[in-house]
Structures are given as structure tokens and as C-alpha cells.
């Protein structure tokens, strides 16, 4: 099994793009994050669904005590999610510097290891400076099922 067999080609996020467009790209390709590229196309950051939710509408006091929460808190405490305000914001302040990448020659076990190490469900596949796509656990599992006709 090669990584190129399971890569999910996606668009990338640029400076000035709004969160709604980035979300749409993530949803279309069923990935949790996208690379953030500079004007020359180099991957310089990462746009992540988890990170934007965490920064925009998930205060630490709520997430830290998630096990205590009743059912009334969510919508009342995060009106910006309910009315969609966060979709109109620019992505720039919510880009993280940490980027987990692998190359097409890397074995699948390395991709899984990096995802495990960085507590992520995906990793970017990069060939030199060229971004190719996203490797997800879901895609690897899907390919396993397909290969073995399970």
C-alpha cells in the first residue's frame, strides 16, 4: 500500500480567505484541516477545523469541564456559532504554525505514527515544495477494506 493510493487532493488556504470557504473545502473532501500556503505556494501553516472551533467558540472553561455540562449550555454560550458569524471571519488569525508532513515515499506506518504523535487525524503529503494532498486515517482504513475486499 502506497501513500499516493490514499491521498485526498484538496485545495489550500491562502491569506485573506474567509473561514466559511475553508470549511467548505474541508467538508467537500472530508478532511479535518488544510495547508496554509504563502504567495509562492509553499506550505507555511495549517488551517484546522478543531483549532478554529477551539479558538472561536470553545473556551477552555467549557471544554475542560465538558463532562459536567448539561444540555442547555451549547447554543446559549456560543451564539457566534449559531448565527454563523464565525464563517465570515478571515482565516489568518487562526492559522497554526505547526505542520505535520510526510513525503510520497514514506511508508503508511510513518503516516499513522505522525498522526498518533501529534494527536491528529490527518497529515499533509508534500513532495519537495509541492503540496499533493491530505492523508487521513479514514482514507487509510477505507483503502485497507478495499484492498482486502473485506
Amino acid at each position: 500500500m502506497k501513500l499516493m493510493d490514499v491521498v485526498v487532493p484538496t485545495g489550500v488556504v491562502h491569506s485573506g480567505m474567509i473561514i466559511g470557504d475553508a470549511y467548505r473545502e474541508c467538508v467537500t473532501h472530508n478532511v479535518g484541516g488544510l495547508p496554509f500556503c504563502d504567495s509562492e505556494g509553499s506550505v507555511v501553516g495549517r488551517f484546522s477545523l478543531r483549532h478554529t472551533f477551539k479558538k472561536l467558540c470553545l473556551p477552555q472553561d467549557i471544554s475542560h469541564h465538558a463532562h459536567l455540562l448539561g444540555d442547555r449550555i451549547c447554543s446559549e454560550s456560543a451564539p457566534e456559532v449559531v448565527n454563523g458569524d464565525i464563517l465570515k471571519l478571515k482565516v489568518d488569525p487562526y492559522i497554526t504554525g505547526h505542520i505535520a508532513t510526510i513525503t510520497p515515499h514514506s511508508p503508511v506506518i510513518k503516516a499513522l505514527s505522525i498522526m498518533e504523535k501529534f494527536n491528529s487525524s490527518y497529515v499533509f503529503l508534500i513532495d519537495g515544495e509541492q503540496y499533493i494532498g491530505v492523508i487521513t486515517r479514514m482514507a487509510i482504513a477505507s483503502l485497507l477494506l478495499k484492498y482486502h475486499k473485506f
Binding site: 473556551p59 477552555q60 472553561d61 467549557i62 475542560h64 469541564h65 463532562h67 459536567l68 455540562l69 448539561g70 444540555d71 442547555r72 449550555i73 454560550s77
Partner: protein, 438 residues
């Protein structure tokens, strides 16, 4: 045997003073982390002292207050066992439900809980645990969490001043003055309780517009707060043993640190924690900071400078009629300094001076209480006066609730009147019942 200095400052004293001033400048300016600054200061003090001939490695080791360091270490380990059980969160949620939407009652309940816990455990840890759950409760009730966070930080500082183990300066004062836990709480307890009560009333008055009655339930399930019920019971049992031993440690002729280690042994046997989980939670940085300070001040003491300062003060302090004034001066200067600089270096430095006065025939007992009150209450004046204040500010900024962020000016607007008011109350109690502090 310390030499006499009829002619004034010697070269050794000036060298030691310069090293200490340099180290304290690094600590207070925050150019380096305070622990790094203290370690560097300690190493320089030993080196310079050895060359000049007024300090040695043996004296440096002897200057470290083992009781303080070991007591703090043991209590940090006990807290490390207690914290993950969820017991603190359980208390906060239950109290919030008991307040029935009356936010003034909520403030009193949470502050009372934080204060009582801070009497026996580190108040910084207490505020670190209580602040996020307080914000969540305030968020659910749709009220500003700022008054609650400020009240918790300030009242935990006050609560910690009541006992020998509530605040690191108290441990140092107790060890230096030979004051046991029971004697400490008997002398400090009533005054601090009075100060606590008056401060709560003042805070309620100052925040009266932020504390409405709300008609919303606290939608949190306290039963889910406890992660490890058996672990909580075992840790509480060990803590109860420690507190019981604190009350009788002087009768058993054991140090408070040894009492804390007995309790720690109980929890180690019952809980069998992973070493990483236990030792990883100990704040080694704080302990190293204290060791560094002890060595720095040990060098200054060894140079004779602190004895010389004591000689300058002895005439004032020796006069029994002026002892009350001296005590009040110690209390207020300790408080005002503690409001703007770390109270630990101040306490570590002043303790040998007070001890020196005793050797000159001064009754220093009332000065210990004055010092403990001063450093305990002074921290409330500014946001940098106590670590608990900084925790409250950080949490208020992080929560993102409009109007909740506490600015340094915002803190001082409430903190300075509160500090002055509590000092006036404490001074009145100290003056009116001065005979009990002798």
C-alpha cells in the same frame, strides 16, 4: 559569634549587599525567570563569599530552611494526588447550586471554600482549580465572572495568612520563630477571620452592580465531577491525618514537614501513584527559587550586614512602649512592599533581621505576627502582589467573556482599597489586643 561593627559597614557587607541587590534586581525586573535569577545569585554569593572569606559552601547548605522546603514538597505531592480526583470541582458545583441564583451568596460560598482550602493547601493551586469552574458557573448564570475571580484570589490570600502552612512566608516565619501550627492559628486566626469577614463585605459592596439575582439553574452535574471516588477518599484521609498532626506536631516534637511526610506516606501506600504523575506535579521551580533565596540571604547574614541592620533598629524595638509602633511599622511596610514585589524574598531577608533583634534582648514575638499579617494581606494590593492574582487575571482574559478581563488598573482599583481596608482592620485588632500578640 557575630563580630561587632562599631564603625559601620564593612567591605564584606557591601559585597554581600551588592550580590543580593543584583539578584533581587534580576528577580523583580523579570529579566530572567525568578528561579534562574535566584540560582545565579546563590552561586555568585557562595563564590564571592568564599573569595572574600565571609561565606562557605557549608554555611550556604546550612542556611537552607529544610523544614520549609520539605513541607512544601510534601504538600505539593499530596495536592498532586488530590487534584485529579475532581473533588474541588464537585465542591464548586454543589455550592453554586446552593446559592439558588443569588450571585452574592455564590461569591460568599466560593470565596469561603477557596479560603478554607487555602488554609491547608497551596492557595495558587486552589485558585488554578477554582477559577475555570467559577468562570463556567458565571457563564451559565450569564453574569460577569470578574468579581468572583478577584474575590477568590484575594480571599484565598487572606485565608492562607491564617495558618502556618497556608502561605510559604508563614512556614518560614513559623520555622524561624519556633511557632507551632496551633499557636499560629490561635494568634492569627481571629484577626484573619475578622479581616476576611470585613473584606467579603467590602467586595460585595464594591461589586454590588455586578452581582444580580438570576433566575437560571446551574446546569452542571456534580456527580460527574468525581473521577475517582475511592482515590478522593484515600487522599482526603491522608490530608486529614496531616492536618491532625499539624495541630499536635509540637506535642510530638516533630516538624510540620515531618507531619506532612507521614500523611504523604499514607497516600503513597494507599494510592500507589506512578512516579511520573507524582513528581511531575511538584513545582520544582518554586522550591529551587526558595533554596536560592535562602543561600543568598545566608550570605548576607554571614557577612554581618543583617546583624548591623538589627543594631540600627534595636533602640526603637527595645523600648516596650514603642514595640506596638514597631510591630505596626513592620506590618505596613511588609504589606506595602509585598504589594509591589514578591513577598518571599522580602520575608526571607527580614527574618534574620528580626532574629538578630532577639539576640539583642528585644521581644520579637509581636513582630512575627505583624510580619505574617503584612505579607499575607499586602499581596492583594496589585495584580503582581500574589501569584493567585495573576492566575485570576489570566483566566479572566482567557475566558473571552465581554467585560470579564481584569486589567492591572482594574485590579488596583479594587485591590488597593481592599488591601488598605484589611490592613486597617488588622492594625486595629493588633493594637486593641496587642497583649495577646506578646
Amino acid at each position: 559569634m557575630l563580630p561587632e561593627y562599631p564603625g559601620g559597614l564593612t567591605q564584606d557587607m557591601l559585597i554581600a549587599l551588592a550580590v543580593m541587590a543584583g539578584a533581587y534586581l534580576l528577580i523583580f525586573s523579570e529579566l530572567l525567570h525568578r528561579t534562574s535569577a535566584a540560582i545565579i545569585g546563590a552561586v555568585v554569593m557562595i563564590g564571592v563569599g568564599m573569595v572574600a572569606g565571609f561565606y562557605s559552601q557549608d554555611l550556604a547548605i546550612a542556611s537552607v530552611d529544610g523544614n520549609t522546603i520539605l513541607l512544601l514538597t510534601a504538600m505539593m505531592m499530596v495536592v498532586a494526588m488530590l487534584r485529579p480526583t475532581g473533588g474541588f470541582e464537585y465542591v464548586a458545583v454543589v455550592l453554586s447550586k446552593y446559592s439558588h441564583g443569588d450571585t452574592r451568596l455564590l461569591l460568599i460560598y466560593l470565596s469561603l471554600a477557596v479560603s478554607i482550602i487555602s488554609m491547608f493547601l497551596d492557595n495558587v493551586t486552589t485558585v488554578i482549580i477554582f477559577a475555570p469552574i467559577t468562570i463556567l458557573i458565571a457563564r451559565i448564570l450569564e453574569v460577569n465572572p470578574m468579581p468572583f475571580l478577584m474575590a477568590e484570589a484575594m480571599l484565598s490570600n487572606i485565608g492562607g495568612a491564617a495558618t502556618l502552612v497556608g502561605d510559604p512566608p508563614n512556614i518560614m516565619i513559623g520555622t524561624a520563630g519556633g511557632i507551632d501550627f496551633t499557636r499560629f492559628i490561635i494568634h492569627m486566626g481571629p484577626t484573619i477571620f475578622l479581616v476576611w469577614l470585613c473584606t467579603v463585605l467590602l467586595i460585595l459592596f464594591l461589586f454590588r452592580r455586578h452581582l444580580p439575582k438570576v433566575d437560571r439553574p446551574v446546569d452542571l452535574d456534580e456527580r460527574r465531577a468525581i473521577h475517582d471516588s475511592a482515590g478522593l477518599k484515600r487522599s482526603l484521609f491522608a490530608l486529614a491525618v496531616i492536618i491532625a498532626l499539624f495541630f499536635i506536631h509540637h506535642l510530638l516534637d516533630i516538624y510540620p514537614a515531618y507531619a506532612a511526610f507521614i500523611g504523604l506516606c499514607i497516600v503513597l501506600i494507599l494510592e500507589r501513584p506512578e512516579p511520573g504523575a507524582l513528581f511531575g506535579e511538584v513545582n520544582w521551580s518554586v522550591l529551587a527559587f526558595f533554596v536560592g533565596l535562602f543561600i543568598i540571604v545566608g550570605g548576607v547574614e554571614s557577612s554581618g550586614l543583617l546583624h548591623w541592620i538589627g543594631l540600627q533598629l534595636v533602640d526603637l524595638a527595645r523600648d516596650p512602649e514603642k514595640l506596638l509602633i514597631t510591630g505596626l511599622a513592620v506590618m505596613w511596610s511588609a504589606a506595602l512592599l509585598s504589594a509591589v514585589v514578591d513577598n518571599i524574598p522580602f520575608t526571607v531577608t527580614i527574618i534574620p533581621i528580626v532574629l538578630g533583634l532577639e539576640s539583642m534582648g528585644v521581644n520579637i514575638t509581636p513582630l512575627w505576627w505583624a510580619l505574617a499579617i503584612g505579607v499575607g494581606l499586602g499581596g492583594n494590593g496589585t495584580h503582581i502582589g500574589a501569584t493567585a492574582n495573576l492566575i485570576a487575571i489570566t483566566e479572566s482574559e482567557r475566558c473571552g467573556i465581554r467585560g470579564a478581563a481584569i486589567t492591572p488598573m482594574g485590579w488596583m482599583k479594587i485591590g488597593i482599597p481592599t488591601m488598605l481596608y484589611s490592613l486597617i482592620i488588622a492594625s486595629l485588632a493588633y493594637s486593641l489586643f496587642f497583649s495577646t500578640f506578646l
